[in-house]
C-alpha cells in the first residue's frame, strides 16, 4: 500500500463506495468528518430522502465494515466513523393521509332571548264617532317589547305608512310624478288616491302653500283644505305646515282647531320655533303631537320633556321624529340615532320611549334617487331612474324600520308597497305558503 492510502479522504471513501457498488446515495453528501447531511425540502420529507435515510443507515453499517477493512489494510482511522443525520427529521417517517371524522359531531344550537325592562308607549291615531271624531277607524302604533322583528317576542302593532298630500302641485321626481300627475291640482283627489290605490294607512296634508316666501296662502284660507280632506277620506290624518318656523305655529294652531276632536297628528313641534304654541294647540283640540329634533338624542329628550312638563301633553299622545337622512346622505347617523333611541326606550328611558316617525320622503333628496344620470363622467352607469328612485326610498325606509320606526311618511307608491310587505313579513304576519322555495339545490336552479 502506498502512503497516500494511509490518509482516508472523502474521495477515497467515495471510490471505495463505488467499488462496493453503493452508487445510490442521492441527496447525501459525505463530508470529511464523515457526517452525512440531508437537505430537507420545504414540503417535508420527500420519498427520495426516505430512501436515502435507509441507505444512510445501511452506510453506517458499511462504514463499520470499512473500518474493519481499512485496519486490515493497515490504515488507522481515528475514532469510530459515525453517520449523523445533521437535520432532525420531525415528522414520523410515514406520511399521515388526512381522513375526515367518521360522523358529524351532534350539536344543538341554543341562544337566549333579549329581555327588556320597559315597553314603548302606545299611541292611537284618529277618533271615530264614538270618541268624538269622524274617522272610519283608528290606528295604534308603538307598544314594542323588543327590538323590531327580533325573535324575542311578538310586538303588538305593525309599522304604518302615511302618504304625502300637498295643498298645491309641487315639483316631484319623475318616478313619483307618474302616479300623481292627474290628481295634483286637487288635494282631496290626491288623498283619496293615496288611500284607495296606493295602500296608505293614513295621509298627511302638508299646508305647503302657506310658506311666506312662496305662495303665502293666508292661514284662514289654507285650513279649509283640512276640512275638505277630512270629508274626502276617513282614515286618520297628519297635518303638516310648510316648514317655515315663523308661520307654522300660527298655521298649525288654526289647523288643530279646525280638526278639533279628530285625534290627528300635528307635524310638528321643534326646538327652533314656538313649539309650545303648537303643542298646546294639539293638546287643547285632542290631537297627537310630533316632537321633531335634528339627529340628537339629547335634544330629543329635552323637547319631549318640555312637551310633557310644560305643555302637559299625556304620554300616549307623543310621537317622536329624530330626523331621517337619506341613503348616502347621512342615513347612518339617522339609523344609529334611532336605534339608540329605541334601545334606550326599551331599557326604560321615559323621555325616549315613544313611537317613532320617519320622514322617509327625504330619500328623494338624494341626487342618486332622481337624477337621470351621474354628473360625473367617471361613474359607471346609474341605471334607469324610474327603477332606481323607488329603491332609494325602499332602502332608506327598510333601514329605519330595522332601527325601530313605527310610522313612515312616504312619497312613492312602489316603496310604500314594498315597505309594507317587507315589514309585515319580518314581523311574521305573512304566511305566503304558495311561494315557499326549496333551496337544497339552489346553485343549479336559480
Amino acid at each position: 500500500m502506498s502512503d497516500e492510502k494511509n490518509i482516508l479522504t472523502v474521495k477515497g471513501v467515495q471510490e471505495l463506495l463505488e467499488k462496493l457498488q453503493v452508487d445510490e446515495l442521492k441527496d447525501v453528501t459525505i463530508e470529511g468528518d464523515l457526517e452525512i447531511e440531508i437537505e430537507p425540502s420545504a414540503a417535508g420529507v420527500p420519498p427520495e430522502m426516505m430512501r436515502s435515510i435507509t441507505v444512510a443507515n445501511e452506510t453506517r453499517q458499511l462504514l463499520q465494515h470499512f473500518k474493519n477493512l481499512l485496519s486490515m489494510e493497515g490504515i488507522s482511522v481515528p475514532g469510530t466513523p459515525t453517520v449523523q443525520l445533521a437535520v432532525p427529521i420531525k415528522p414520523v417517517p410515514t406520511i399521515a393521509k388526512f381522513s375526515p371524522l367518521g360522523k358529524l359531531i351532534e350539536r344543538r344550537f341554543e341562544v337566549k332571548k333579549d329581555e327588556w325592562k320597559s315597553k314603548i308607549e302606545e299611541v292611537t291615531l284618529g277618533a271615530t264617532r264614538a270618541d268624538g271624531g269622524t274617522r272610519g277607524h283608528t290606528i295604534t302604533i308603538g307598544g314594542e317589547v323588543c327590538m323590531p322583528f327580533y325573535p324575542d317576542a311578538q310586538n303588538p302593532h305593525r309599522p304604518i305608512v302615511v302618504l304625502d298630500t300637498f295643498d298645491e302641485p309641487i315639483p316631484l321626481a319623475k318616478a313619483v310624478k307618474g302616479f300623481y300627475g292627474d290628481v295634483m291640482e286637487d288635494p282631496c283627489d290626491w288623498a283619496k288616491k293615496n288611500v284607495k290605490e296606493f295602500g296608505a294607512d293614513m295621509v298627511t296634508i302638508h299646508l305647503h302653500s302657506t310658506h311666506p316666501l312662496e305662495k303665502n296662502t293666508p292661514t284662514k284660507e289654507a285650513i279649509k283644505t283640512i276640512e275638505d280632506i277630512l270629508q274626502a277620506v276617513d282614515v286618520p290624518i297628519v297635518i303638516g305646515g310648510s316648514g317655515d318656523p315663523g308661520k307654522d305655529p300660527e298655521v298649525l294652531e288654526a289647523a288643530a282647531e279646525v280638526a278639533d276632536g279628530e285625534r290627528c297628528m300635528i307635524a310638528s313641534a321643534n326646538l327652533d320655533m314656538d313649539w309650545e304654541r303648537i303643542a298646546k294647540a294639539a293638546k287643547k283640540y285632542g290631537h297627537n303631537i310630533l316632537s321633531w329634533t335634528s339627529l340628537d338624542m339629547n335634544n330629543q329628550r329635552e323637547l319631549d320633556r318640555k312637551i310633557m312638563k310644560i305643555v302637559g301633553m299625556p304620554r300616549d299622545r307623543i310621537i317622536i321624529d329624530p330626523t331621517t337622512a337619506a341613503l348616502g346622505y347621512g342615513l347612518d347617523y339617522a339609523y344609529t340615532n334611532m336605534e339608540r333611541i329605541k334601545i334606550a326606550g326599551l331599557k326604560g328611558d321615559d323621555e325616549l320611549n315613544f313611537p317613532m316617525s320617519s320622514g322617509t320622503t327625504n330619500a328623494w333628496g338624494a341626487r342618486e334617487a332622481w337624477m337621470k344620470e351621474s354628473p360625473m363622467s367617471e361613474d359607471s352607469d346609474w341605471g334607469a331612474r324610474e327603477y332606481r328612485g323607488p329603491l332609494w326610498e325602499v332602502i332608506t325606509g327598510m333601514t329605519l324600520a330595522i332601527a325601530g320606526v313605527n310610522m313612515f311618511m312616504m312619497m312613492g307608491p312602489i316603496a310604500v308597497h314594498v315597505l309594507k310587505n317587507m315589514t309585515q313579513t319580518l314581523m311574521g304576519l305573512v304566511e305566503d305558503k304558495d311561494h315557499e322555495i326549496d333551496i337544497s339545490n339552489w346553485i343549479r336552479e336559480v
Binding site: 388526512f98 375526515p100 371524522l101 358529524l104 350539536r107 344550537f109 341562544v111 322583528f149 325573535p151 318616478a175 302616479f179 327652533d272 335634528s294 339627529l295 337622512a325 341613503l327 348616502g328 347621512g330 347612518d332 339609523y335 344609529t336 339608540r340 334601545i343 341626487r367 342618486e368 337624477m371 351621474s374 354628473p375 360625473m376 367617471e378 361613474d379 359607471s380 352607469d381 341605471g383 334607469a384 324610474e386 327603477y387 332606481r388 323607488p390 329603491l391 325602499v394 332602502i395 327598510m398 330595522i402 307608491p413 312602489i414 308597497h417 310587505n421 313579513t425 319580518l426 311574521g428 305573512v430 305566503d432 304558495d434 311561494h435 322555495i437 333551496i439 346553485i443 343549479r444 336559480v446
Partner: protein, 488 residues
C-alpha cells in the same frame, strides 16, 4: 375581543414608552388596540423574541369575536367577518361585506367575460373615493366538472378579483380548485350530505369553506365537526329565503347566530355569515312578486328589462336588510345598475365608523386655476356635501373658489334649520379667506337650499349674492345663464 379596558392590554406591552409606534405612551397605544384603530404588530418591541409569550397571548385576547377570514390573494383579497359588536354604536362594524356577483358554467364565454368586466370595472364616486365591487361567484349549473373548470379558467383569465366556487358536487369543486386554488378561493358548500368529501378538499387545497344548512342545529354540527378536524376558516350560510315565513326565518337565524357568537361567545359558530339574496330569483320562478304589475306599468321605466324589476326589487330588499343585520359576505345575481347603486351606498354607510365625524377642514379651496373673474361658492364642511360640490365643479372644469364653512360637519339643509349655517359664519369665512381681494366681481354664489339667508348674507358680507341651484350637479347650467354676473 376578550378584553375591554386599555389597562388589560397595557399589561402585556413592553411599557417602555419608546414612541416608535407614534403614540406618546404604551398606554395610549393600548387604548388604540382596544378601539381597534391600531394593530399590535405596529409595536416593534413586542415582536422581539423575548416578548413572544406576551405577543401571542395578547393577540389571542385582541382577536375579534367573529373570526376574520381572508379570501383571495394580493391587493384584491377581501376580509370577511372580524366583527365585535351587535349594534354599530357600541364601537363600529369593521369588515364591510364584500359583494360577489355570479356567473355560471352554462353561460357562453362572452356573457361570462361581460359580467366579470362589469363587476371589476364598476365604480361610483362617493365622499372622496370610488366605491367598487369585490368578487365573482362561479356557480355550476351544469354539474359537469369539465364545464366548470373551463368557466373558472375563463374567469381567472379575465380578473384578479377573488372568487367563490359554488357547487354541492365535490368533483365539480375539485375541478375548479385545480385551476384556481393558489388564489385562495372560497368554496361553497359543505352540507350534511357531502361534508366528508368537502373536508378532504379543504385539507388538500387549504382553502376557506362555506358550511350550509338552514337548520341551525345541523349548521352548528357541521361547524363543530370542521373545527374538530382542524379547519378554522369557515363561513356559515344559514339559508336565505325570499318571502313570507321563510324570509322571517332567515332574518331570525341571522340575528340568533350573531347574538350567540358575540354576546354568548359560542365558539362553535363565531364565523362570518353569508347571505344569498339571489334566492329571490328562485321564488320569482314560483311566481313570487313583491309588487302588483300595474304599479310597475305606471312607473314607466324602460321596457327592456322591465320583467326583471320584480325579482331585482326583491333581491335588493333582502340583500340590503342583510347588510344591516348581519351578513359578512353577500352573493348577488342581478347586476342592474339601479340596484347596485343603492346597495353599495348602504354598505358604505353602515360600515362608516360612527366614532369619526365625517367632516373636512373648513378653509377656502381653489378648484382648478381660479383668477379674478372666477365665481366664488360656499358650502358646508360635511364631507359628503363638500366632496359632491368640489367634484361637480372640478369634473366640469369650473375654475372657482369654494369656501368651506364650519357647520360642525352638518349638511346645508340641516345646518340652516339648526343654525350652524348663518350669515355671521359666512361673513367670518369670507373675511378669513380674503377672497374679496382675489376677485373683482364681489359676488358670492350660495347653495339653493340656503336661499333664505340671502338678504342677511348680503348685509353681513357686503357682497352681491346669487342663489345657486339646489343641487351642485346643476351648477354648469346655472353658470351658463348667470355668469359672468351682470354689472350693476
Amino acid at each position: 375581543m376578550k378584553i375591554q379596558s386599555p389597562l388589560e392590554a397595557y399589561n402585556y406591552l413592553p411599557g417602555t414608552n419608546c414612541k416608535e409606534c407614534g403614540e406618546e405612551t404604551c398606554m395610549a397605544f393600548a387604548s388604540k388596540l382596544i378601539d381597534r384603530s391600531r394593530k399590535l404588530e405596529e409595536c416593534k418591541e413586542i415582536l422581539d423574541e423575548s416578548y413572544k409569550d406576551e405577543y401571542e397571548e395578547l393577540t389571542g385576547l385582541l382577536a375579534p369575536e367573529i373570526k376574520e377570514i381572508t379570501v383571495g390573494t394580493g391587493e384584491k383579497a377581501v376580509k370577511i367577518g372580524g366583527e365585535d359588536v351587535i349594534y354599530r354604536h357600541e364601537l363600529t362594524f369593521f369588515d364591510a361585506p364584500p359583494f360577489a356577483y355570479d356567473v355560471t358554467d352554462v353561460m357562453d364565454e362572452k356573457e361570462i367575460v361581460d359580467r366579470v368586466n362589469y363587476v371589476q370595472n364598476y365604480k361610483k364616486f362617493y365622499v372622496g373615493n370610488f366605491l367598487t365591487l369585490d368578487m365573482i361567484a362561479i356557480r355550476s349549473v351544469s354539474d359537469d366538472p369539465k364545464k366548470f373548470s373551463s368557466c373558472v379558467r375563463k374567469v381567472a383569465e379575465t380578473t384578479e378579483l377573488p372568487v367563490i366556487l359554488m357547487s354541492f358536487n365535490p368533483d365539480v369543486l375539485e375541478a375548479g380548485l385545480k385551476v384556481i386554488s393558489e388564489r385562495r378561493p372560497l368554496i361553497y358548500a359543505a352540507t350534511v350530505d357531502n361534508w366528508k368529501r368537502i373536508a378532504e378538499l379543504v385539507d388538500k387545497y387549504k382553502v376557506p369553506v362555506v358550511l350550509f344548512s338552514p337548520d341551525l342545529d345541523k349548521l352548528s354540527s357541521l361547524a363543530k365537526t370542521f373545527l374538530e378536524m382542524g379547519m378554522e376558516d369557515l363561513v356559515l350560510d344559514p339559508g336565505t329565503y325570499a318571502s313570507g315565513k321563510q324570509l322571517k326565518g332567515t332574518f331570525d337565524r341571522f340575528i340568533k347566530l350573531r347574538r350567540s357568537g358575540i354576546k354568548e361567545g359560542n365558539k362553535d359558530i363565531t364565523f362570518p355569515i353569508m347571505c344569498i339574496p339571489m334566492q329571490a330569483f328562485l321564488a320569482n320562478k314560483k311566481g313570487y312578486k313583491p309588487l302588483p304589475d300595474e304599479l310597475i306599468e305606471t312607473l314607466g321605466g324602460p321596457e327592456e328589462g322591465r320583467e326583471l324589476y320584480q325579482p331585482v326589487l326583491s333581491e335588493t330588499a333582502i340583500g340590503n336588510i342583510s347588510i344591516i343585520k348581519y351578513a359578512d359576505i353577500i352573493v348577488w345575481h342581478n347586476i342592474e345598475a339601479y340596484s347596485v347603486l343603492p346597495s353599495i351606498h348602504l354598505k358604505f354607510n353602515m360600515y362608516t365608523d360612527p366614532r369619526t365625524p365625517v367632516s373636512v377642514e373648513p378653509i377656502m379651496r381653489e378648484v382648478g386655476n381660479p383668477d379674478e373673474n372666477s365665481p366664488v361658492f360656499f358650502t358646508t364642511n360635511f364631507a359628503l356635501t363638500y366632496f359632491t360640490v368640489f367634484n361637480d365643479l372640478d369634473s366640469n372644469g369650473i375654475d372657482s373658489y369654494l369656501l368651506v364653512i364650519d357647520t360642525g360637519g352638518i349638511g346645508v339643509q340641516s345646518a340652516i334649520a339648526g343654525g350652524q349655517l348663518n350669515a355671521g359664519k359666512i361673513k367670518d369665512a369670507v373675511e378669513e379667506s380674503k377672497v374679496k381681494e382675489k376677485v373683482k366681481h364681489n359676488t358670492l354664489t350660495m347653495p339653493g337650499y340656503a336661499a333664505r339667508l340671502m338678504g342677511d348674507v348680503e348685509d353681513e358680507t357686503g357682497m352681491t349674492v346669487l342663489v345657486g341651484p339646489m343641487d351642485s350637479g346643476r351648477i354648469p347650467g346655472f353658470l351658463d345663464e348667470h355668469w359672468p354676473p351682470k354689472s350693476e
